[in-house]
Symmetry: C2
Subunit: 266 residues, 2 copies
């Protein structure tokens, strides 16, 4: 047993989609979350800069005495996950392998689409991971660079958002039976994405898939948090590098509960 919290990092609010799923599946675990909204989006930045920012987030989480770190960010996973996993002596999880496995399991015709930030798509990491497991899959990747900003500015219900999602996804419509949401911000746009792609396309939420892995690794390394008799809520802590108001509005809404957020300078 290990009652320390699980640390989550993201370039902004996107990782909250992983947190929401964690709260559903493992409600007794305690969470420390750091979102780098001051420097979001990570997607268009050079790899070396993303690597450096990611290490800053990792080091911040380590000061919070976490027992595991979850890269709740595809871009950071693509750039720095293997390196960080290698260096730390606590488990470090990314979202790309779980998303890849789930897509392979889901696809019927072997035609998988992947959408993500410019860096995630440019790194070609989903295609590589999917092809390592299943070389016969046809993988089409598409960068959707505008999506993160829509989410971070809480514009997901606007008509502009709808148009951007429809226009961006047009090249994939009719070409895939499974679509990986290869950025943890994207599940916040899920209804728009599902509509644009058509009801038959299976959407894979890389973050939600990752929670299954968290659960299994907590078991394997025997570091589950002890559930209390009264099912009391853990005291989750959320940090953002930007102003707290924007973060809190999105988080309260998405997590369906009032959370407390602190500003932090890295």
């Amino acid at each position: 047993m290990d009652n320390r919290p699980i640390g989550f990092l993201d370039s902004g609010v996107g990782g909250l989609t992983v947190v929401r799923e964690l709260m559903r599946q493992l409600p007794h675990e305690e969470i420390v979350y750091i979102g780098d909204s001051a420097r979001t989006p990570y997607g268009p930045r050079p790899a070396e800069q993303i690597r450096q920012y990611t290490w800053e987030l990792v080091r911040f989480l380590l000061t919070k005495n976490v027992k595991m770190i979850v890269f709740a960010c595809n871009t950071a996973t693509a750039v720095a996950w293997e390196e960080v996993k290698e260096k730390l002596d606590i488990p470090v999880l990314g979202v790309i392998l779980p998303g890849s496995s789930a897509a392979i399991k889901s696809t019927v015709k072997g035609k998988i689409g992947v959408i993500g930030t410019a860096m995630t798509v440019q790194s070609d990491i989903y295609k590589q991971k999917i092809h390592l497991l299943a070389p016969q899959m046809e993988v089409t990747s598409l960068a959707c660079p505008k999506f993160v900003s829509i989410v971070e500015s809480n514009e997901i219900s606007s008509s502009v958002a709808k148009k951007i999602v429809y226009d961006s996804l047009a090249p994939l419509v009719g070409r895939v039976d499974t679509l990986v949401l290869g950025c943890t911000h994207y599940p916040l746009l899920r209804p728009l994405i599902q509509n644009a792609m058509g009801e038959k396309v299976k959407l894979i939420d890389s973050g939600a898939e990752c929670v299954r892995d968290i659960s299994v690794l907590l078991n394997y390394f025997q570091i589950n948090r002890r559930r209390e008799l009264t099912d009391q809520k853990g005291s989750h802590r959320f940090y953002t590098t930007a102003g707290i108001t924007g973060f809190k509005t999105i988080a309260d809404n998405w997590l369906d509960q009032k959370i407390s957020v602190e500003h932090v300078t890295l």
Copy 2:
């Protein structure tokens, strides 16, 4: 990637229930299976003997160059899993933690039943693991010492089997909403067990739950087998310490395919 096979051990044919689920979820992985039917059942034996037998099975699998070992046997998991996991430098999985987690997730009223061999029940390991995670659960354990022999002798369709299952489970009927099949032989008796307990009781197949863990750990340690272009079947190998006919009859039927079995002396 790691194209070596996954090793499974069991006191007999029970672990085939885990293998069947693995073939469904991860059809590209290759399997080496050793069933100690000559010395089955393990349940009534002293712990030290079970420990020694389990190590013999582990050492046999290591000669087959496996990348991971699955204790597809609750009794062996209860007695020797932690020790073997500690000693080997490949991942070693048991079936008890996955079964415990699944039961906690499944139960509505917090009343969990566990059935297993005499040793598994005597070790009290399910109750301990469940209580570590969720102290408020009410766990009732019951040894069903006759079930393994029914399965090993392929008598699962006989009227004697039905009577044994009904009589054995009577103390649990109406007292639990979730029942852990804490022995990998028991899913072969699933229809009888479900009937005896009533349709509303959720049965947890500890072996099937374990396959989820196998999948996640293959990803985490990056030791998946590369899927081939032609989806070709791996060349699975099954070994038994008893005669091959009995093992093969049960395996062909349960796995719904003709398998080849070799006799081996440990």
